[in-house]
């Protein structure tokens, strides 16, 4: 956004009035590190556009808001550092999503014995509590009890609406693995819901 706008407009130094000449000179003659500023702008614009959806994805994977936001921050920092290695700016959203999924997997591996917080523990206000129906709370608790890979397939297939092929590519596994993981996850949820009722 910002880069495009800058190319369209003359710099402040070309404007004849408004600010004193002293300050106008001061503003534009000291050039910044243009390349760095451009990356800064690109990454900031991407953050504004994608951070919330990525954080939501990470929240579904991790069940923890803070950890989800940490993972997203990590992904954007990674992008920032590797911007010059990116094939094109268009590749950034896919890179970020892969990076967030990787970050979630890594985090989940590091806490194998810690169950994801139950839905009730995550609800922090009456307003938030009202957002879920009782059935959804039970369903969410069931999803959170699934193994990480099964939960990931559900998130990719049903939250991101990915096809089996797309989910397989995102997870780095075969289509068959996605299919079986999804099927097992749905069966497990069905069992848990029956037990709950």
């Amino acid at each position: 956004m910002c880069l495009a706008e800058r190319t369209k407009f003359p710099s402040a130094a070309t404007f004849p009035v408004g600010l004193s000449l002293y300050y106008v000179d001061q503003m534009d003659t000291r050039a910044p590190d243009a390349a760095h500023a451009a990356v800064d702008r690109h990454v900031t614009a991407l953050y504004q556009a994608h951070a919330l959806s990525l954080a939501r994805l990470a929240l579904l994977m991790l069940g923890d808001r803070d950890a989800a936001q940490d993972v997203v921050q990590d992904a954007f920092l990674g992008l920032y550092r590797r911007w010059d290695k990116l094939a094109s700016a268009d590749a950034a959203p896919a890179y970020l999503r892969a990076s967030v999924l990787n970050g979630c997997r890594t985090l989940l591996k590091r806490r194998p014995r810690t169950a994801l917080p139950a839905a009730e523990e995550c609800l922090e206000s009456a307003e938030a509590a009202m957002m879920h129906t009782e059935e959804q709370r039970v369903m969410l608790a069931a999803i959170r009890r699934l193994p990480a890979r099964q939960r990931e397939t559900l998130v990719l297939r049903y939250y991101l609406d990915m096809s089996e092929d797309q989910a397989a590519r995102a997870m780095g596994v075969s289509r068959g693995t996605v299919k079986s993981a999804t099927s097992r996850a749905i069966a497990a949820i069905g069992r848990m819901l029956k037990e709950e009722s």
Binding site: Q48, Q73, H132
Partner: protein
């Protein structure tokens, strides 16, 4: 798709929708941009946090053990005085901390930079002043051209805490449209603040009342009225939306409302919900009825009130003038960025200890009769009222944290006669607490 699969989808979407905002992106400094070790990764920070608890536990055990050893060595001295001293110290620390403006308020999410339209300290002119709240200092001051005024001025910031738009009026008595600037902050650059003019196509015969920059900084909403730098009664107000990139007018709506001496700002407190909805407050009569409405600016229209939708309304009965516990209208009611709540400042009075408090509230649109207290600060007993608004100067998208200002007044005797002494405060309010920082006193300020 089976019913169970549909339920899974609904549940996942409902859960995801609970997260409504993310904390600001913190990029590393320029020099460290390509040095991976220079900036600790969040996962590394998590590792540190994970060990924080055990480390504190070990420290506490060591302290307790140390204290027991000391107690044992002081067998002849009773333990009570030590405990008593400890309590007094705790109270004193708490009091000192409270006097400093509150403890433990997370201020990370509140914006760091601000743009103020005020008086240049070392110059005899009005100026655009850019400041850093965290560092408590001014980063840059740009004096306006001689005669430039801030009578009909506006300033507003984008969500990135780095981009602002400013309008300034032409010199007093000189006809002509306001001058528009974009102010951008580059914290690590050699020149951290850069200003460029914006070619906003604004009518020459109108004065700016208020502006609001959209979260992504691409669109600008402007409330204006005919006449420059002078207040005129009975002149209708207009809301226009411009493209910041081209300066072109996108749409315009006439309000059919005009300012009066008793209600100088019938349309105010502009805010953006996403990139196609503008929220604004309409006050029909001061201290009587306030409303907040939303307008879909992606659609064309001409009549601001007919084309917008009422989302919040509050009736405040008129009260005897000067009564400390009189009902008070909500000051600066802003619609939050997620469009789910209206936040505002207000005052409350406690008859028990006869003290006033400044309070900031969030009214969820779903349950408007049950406002949530964002934070409050009780005033000393000698405070007799507030001078002007208890304002909301910035709010986060969900209305859980605001930057607010309040100006308590105290009756004093000065030069033999009664006088009112006013103190200005600004602070970050959230989690029920208030953390003060040096007040920003410009004519207009944007965060």
């Amino acid at each position: 798709m089976s019913t169970l699969e549909e339920e899974i989808r609904d549940t996942l979407r409902s859960e995801a929708a609970r997260l409504r905002e993310v904390r600001p992106l913190q990029l590393p400094p320029a020099a460290a941009a390509h040095e991976s070790r220079a900036v600790p990764r969040a996962s590394w920070a998590r590792w540190l946090r994970a060990w924080h608890g055990p480390a504190v536990a070990v420290a506490v055990v060591a302290l307790v053990a140390g204290a027991l050893v000391i107690l044992k060595s002081l067998r002849n001295e009773p333990a009570a005085p030590m405990a008593s001293t400890s309590t007094v110290e705790s109270s004193a620390s708490a009091a000192a901390a409270a006097a400093g403006g509150g403890v433990g308020v997370a201020v990370g999410a509140a914006p760091r930079y601000y743009v103020e339209l005020g008086w240049a300290k070392n110059d005899k002119s009005w100026a655009i002043i850019v400041g850093d709240r965290q560092a408590g200092k001014t980063i840059a001051t740009f004096p306006l051209a001689k005669g430039g005024t801030l009578f009909d001025a506006g300033v507003s910031g984008a969500a990135d805490d780095r981009t602002f738009v400013v309008s300034t009026a032409p010199s007093s008595g000189v006809a002509g449209p306001p001058t528009w600037y974009r102010v951008r902050i580059f914290p690590d650059a050699a020149d951290p603040v850069r200003i460029t003019k914006l070619p906003i196509e604004f009518p020459a015969n109108e004065g700016v009342r208020e502006i609001a920059l959209s979260g992504d900084g691409t669109e600008l909403a402007v409330v204006s009225m005919t006449g420059n730098a002078a207040f005129k009664e009975g002149v209708p107000l207009t809301l226009r939306v411009y493209s910041v990139a081209t300066g072109r007018l996108r749409h315009s709506w006439s309000a059919g409302l005009s300012a009066t001496a008793g209600n100088p700002e019938p349309i105010a407190d502009l805010s953006w919900v996403g990139d196609s909805t503008v929220g604004f407050a309409v006050t029909y009569s001061p201290e009587v009825r306030e409303t907040v409405r939303t307008l879909d600016v992606s659609k064309t229209g001409t009549n601001l009130l007919a084309d917008s939708r009422l989302v919040w309304s509050q009736y405040v009965p008129a009260a005897p003038h000067g009564t400390r516990n009189a009902p008070h209208a909500c000051d600066t009611p802003f619609l939050t960025g997620d469009g789910q709540a209206v936040v505002c400042g207000n005052s409350t009075y406690s008859p028990g200890d006869k003290r006033l408090s400044a309070v900031w509230l969030a009214y969820p649109l779903a349950t408007p009769t049950r406002p949530r207290v964002i934070g409050s600060i009780q005033q000393p007993k000698d405070v007799s009222g507030f001078n002007g608004k208890i304002s909301v100067d910035w709010t986060n998208a969900s209305g859980t944290e605001v930057i607010g200002s309040w100006n308590p007044s105290v009756q004093v005797v000065d030069h033999g006669g009664p006088a009112t002494q006013v103190t200005n405060y600004t602070g970050v309010i959230g989690n029920g607490k208030v953390k003060k920082f040096p007040p920003v006193l410009g004519a207009k300020v944007a965060w």
